[in-house]
Amino acid sequence: MPVLAALLFGLVFGAGLAVGGMTNPAKVIAFLDVTGTWDPSLALVMGGALTVNGLAFALTRQRPRPLFAESFALPTLRDIDRELIAGAATFGVGWGLVGLCPGPALASLLRGELSVYAFVAAMVAGMWLDRLRRLYTREGRR
């Protein structure tokens, strides 16, 4: 049941990305191009998502446990550290170069575009590189 639920939520999430326009890299870049011909659409994607998720979170946090699990797996890190800022900045540069972030990149996999395959393969490789870094620096488990 939790696996089926996750599939359903992934479907709705992916559909939302496509409806909102996040799956067109040119549109994402037009959003980031604040000094050019600006397309504010993605601010509304973010606003819509935040409004719904924010309201829902206020209700969900009052529940003792999730429907299909023992406990909520919420992030425990609290510090604004160097890894957070360096990681976000690195991600932002890649996002600005291509116009794809992880969700829309995966959501575009069935378009049959070679460019998406190349991007996703490199993205997975990048995630492995961070795994190696964590092993090397003995930062331990995430």
């Binding site: 999430f13 939302g16 990305l17 870049i29 957070l84 393969a121 997975v124 995630m127």
Partner: protein, 144 residues
Amino acid sequence: MIAASFTPGLSLVGGAMIGLAAAALLFANGKVAGVSGILARALAPQRGDLAWRIAFLCGLPLGAIAVIRLTGDPHGFAITGSFPVLVCGGLLVGFGTALGNGCTSGHGVCGLARGSRRSLAATLTFMAAGALTVFVVRHVFGAG
């Protein structure tokens, strides 16, 4: 100047769908709908923690392609950038989201909805870095 491609209605609806899916994943499964985290931890899974990740990740392209087929792709798809740029961009996105523990969905949609200061700092940082990168590529080098 505002682009002619501005789609306020569709984008608001799409955003609400994303928010609904993220809320439901937390409510039902107790998990944060951060795509980079779901993927990164599917690459090195802990026992009993893989199936829901695969299911969610498979849902993303299936949901998107359904919308594209049913609606005739209202936004289209256009990607500029040569093969080396795509690979560099992918590496930076993969490494950066793993290092910073989150992407547009994990920090931007889920973290901000929880009022996380870390996620606010991350979101402001990747938005600024993305905008700066586009500025340099488009308006300094005149490419893209």
